[in-house]
Amino acid sequence: MKLLEYEAKRILAKYGIPIPRGGLAANIAEAREIAQTLKPPLVVKAQVPVAGRGKAGGILFAESVDDVEKAVNKLFNMQIRGIPVRSVWIEEKVNAKRELYFGMTVDRLNKTYVMIGSTEGGMEIEEVAEKAPQKILKFPVDPLYGFRLYHARQMAKRMGYSGNQLSAIANIFYNLYRAGVDYDAELIEMNPLAETPEGNFVAMDARIIVDDNALFRHPEFKERPLEGEFSPQEVEAAKNDLAYVKLDGDIGVIGNGAGLVMATLDAIQLYGGKPANFLDVGGGAPSEKIAAALRIVLSDSNVKALFINILGGITRCDEVARGILKAREKLGIEKPMVIRLVGTNEEEGKRILTEAGIQVLDSMEEAARQVVEVARRL
C-alpha cells in the first residue's frame, strides 16, 4: 500500500525526523488557513500516490497566501497520471545546499532489508544508480540484530559526514529504519533529504510502501480509501483479494498464478492480440472469487473477449468451473469466452463446464491463438 507524501512525512516526524513545517488541505479555505501559519516561500504539493509528480506539474511554489490559493486551484483542476488531485500538502520551502537520498528496501539476494544512501539524491537518483553506481551506498541489515545506530554512523561516515552532523544524520538514518520496520515497509525513503546551508537535515519528500501482506498488523490503514489511487476495477479487485492491473488491450485475461498470467499475456501478444488486463486469482480460489474476477474484468468496456487460463494446483478446477457458471448466470455474460482448464480435479471441472455447453481447451497456446482470433473477428 502506497502511502501519500503527507502520511509518510507524519510517520517520519513521529520518529523524530525533521520535516518542513506544513499542513494538509482538502479545500481552498483549509489551504489559506494553513498558509497563514507558515513562513513563505511555500511549496504546494499534490497528494497523489505516483512517482514523477514534480515533472508532471504537481508541485508549485507560492510567495503569499493568495499565491497558495492560485496554486491549489490549479492543482485541484489537474489529473496526475490519470489521478485527480483531492488534497494538497503545503509546507515551508527548504533551502537545500545539497540533496541526499536515503531509504530502505528489501534485499532479495541477501534475504534481508538493505539501507541505501547517496549524496547525489533528488529527481535523478535512478539515473545516478544506473550511470554511477559507486555513488550509491548499499548496506544490508543483519536480520538478527537489525540496523543499529553505529551502522548508521558508519554509513554517514562513508558519505563524508563528521562532527555534529555525523550524529544528526545518523539519527535520521536510524530512525528511518525503525519507522520502516515498525510499519512493515517494503520501501521507505527520503528523496531528497536536504542539507541546509546551516548544516541541518530535513526530509523534503518522503515515500512509504507498506507490505500489503502485513496490513493485518496495521489496522490504522484498514479504512483507508483506495479510490483515487486505483481504478474502480483495481479497488474492486483489492476488496476481493485479487491482483488486477488494467492494460490497454481488448482481451480480458483471468488466470491463476502471477507467472502463468504473465506468460498468458505474453502469448496473447505473441499471436498479435492485446490483453485488456492482468488478473491473478491466486492459489486455491473458491468459486465466489472466480465469479468476482469475471465481474471485474467484464466491467471494463474495452473487453471484447475473455480468456480464462487455469492450471490447477492448490486451485481446484471444479471450483473454477462452478465460479464461471455462477458468474455467467448472474451477469448474463454474452461475450465470447475461451477457457483452458487443466490440473487438480480437472475431470470434474471439465464435466461441469461441458454439461453447461462450454467448451474447454487443454493447450494454453492454442487457447491464446483462438482468443486472439475471436477478438479480431469482433
Binding site: L109, A214, I314, M364
Partner: protein, 295 residues
C-alpha cells in the same frame, strides 16, 4: 535420486486440519509421500486421512521420526510454524502459505541459515521428485520420473512447462518452485549447485519472471562456474508495461534491471537457450538431449 526430497523423506504436515492442508495431505499420501504426522494446535489427538495430529511439532517428533515439514498454516502464523519446525531440528521445510509478511520471512530465513536448514518458499507449489516424493500441491499426474531438473519462481507456469515435457516423454528428476515472494529460501543458484551434483539430472529448466535481479545473477554464476549441464530458460513478463505491478511484489519492475529483456539478454550471453513460449521448452530440451546422446 533427484534432490532434497526422495524415498527417504518422512514429512509432517503443519496446518493439516485446514481445508488445503487436509486436501493436499490426501493427495500426497496417494502419491506415496511418507506423511508421518500432522500438527495443528488444539487439534492434537485427532487424525486426518489416517495421519495422527499433534498440538506441537515437539510432540509429533517425540512419537515419529521426520526430516521434512510442509506448511499450510495461515499467513499470520506461518512464519512461527516454520520457526517451530526449524527449532525442532527439521532440516527441509516447504512453506506453501502465501501472503506472509516480508518481515516474518526475513526472520525465518535468518534462522534457517543459522541452523543449516533448507527452506523452499513461501508462496511455492513445493517440490516433487517424481515417482518418489511429492511435498507440495502440484497436480501429480503432469510429472513423471526422468532426467530433467526444473526450478521455477512461478507455480502454475511450472506445471505448464512440466506438462509439456512429460507429453514429449521428457521426465523430471526433481521440480522445485522457489516461491513468488520477494524473500524466499532456496534460490536459483543454490538449486543449480544441487542439480550439478545429482547424477540423475542431465539438463535443467529454469523458469524466471520479471522483478528482482536473481536471474541476472544466476546467468553470471553459470558463466563464472562454467556450469556443466545444459540449461534452458523461460522468462515470463515480456509484455508487462514498466512500472506496473503484476500480482505481487516479486513482479515490481525495479529500474532497468529486472525486466524480461535484461534477464533474457543475460541468459543468452551466458549460453543459456531461452524459450519464446512455454511449449518451446520441451522441443528445445529434446534437441539438446538428443544432440548430447549423439555426441
Amino acid at each position: 535420486m533427484g534432490i532434497i526430497v526422495g524415498k527417504e523423506t518422512k514429512a509432517i504436515v503443519q496446518g493439516i486440519t485446514g481445508a488445503q492442508g487436509s486436501f493436499h495431505t490426501k493427495l500426497m499420501l496417494e502419491y506415496g509421500t511418507k506423511v508421518v504426522a500432522g500438527v495443528t494446535p488444539g487439534k492434537g489427538g485427532t487424525t486426518v486421512h489416517g495421519v495422527p495430529v499433534y498440538d506441537t511439532v515437539e510432540e509429533a517428533l517425540e512419537k515419529h521420526e521426520a526430516n521434512a515439514s510442509i506448511i499450510f498454516v495461515p499467513a499470520p502464523y506461518a512464519a512461527d510454524a516454520a520457526m517451530e519446525a526449524l527449532e525442532n531440528g527439521i532440516k527441509t521445510i516447504v512453506i506453501i502459505t502465501e501472503h506472509i509478511p516480508i518481515k516474518d520471512s526475513i526472520s525465518v530465513m535468518a534462522y534457517a541459515c543459522q541452523v543449516g536448514a533448507t527452506v523452499i518458499g513461501p508462496n511455492t507449489p513445493g517440490i516433487i521428485t517424481p515417482g518418489e516424493c511429492k511435498l507440495g500441491i502440484m497436480p501429480a499426474h503432469i510429472f513423471k520420473p526422468g532426467k530433467v531438473g526444473m526450478v521455477s519462481r512461478s507455480g502454475t507456469l511450472t506445471y505448464e512447462i512440466a506438462a509439456g515435457l512429460t507429453k514429449k516423454q521428457l521426465g523430471q528428476s526433481t521440480c522445485i518452485g522457489l516461491g513468488g515472494d520477494p524473500i524466499v529460501g532456496l534460490n536459483f543458484i543454490e538449486v543449480l549447485k544441487l542439480f550439478e551434483k545429482d547424477p540423475q539430472t542431465e539438463a535443467v529448466v529454469l523458469i524466471g519472471e520479471i522483478g528482482g535481479n536473481l536471474e541476472e545473477l544466476t546467468a553470471e554464476y553459470i558463466v563464472k562456474e562454467k556450469y556443466p549441464k545444459p540449461v534452458v530458460a523461460f522468462i515470463a513478463g515480456r509484455s508487462a508495461p514498466p512500472g506496473k505491478r503484476m500480482g505481487h511484489a516479486g513482479a515490481i519492475i525495479m529500474g532497468r534491471a529486472g525486466t524480461a529483456e535484461t534477464k533474457i539478454e543475460a541468459f543468452k550471453k551466458a549460453g543459456v537457450e531461452v524459450a519464446e513460449k512455454p511449449s518451446d521448452v520441451a522441443a528445445m530440451l529434446e534437441k539438446i538431449l538428443n544432440d548430447k546422446l549423439a555426441r
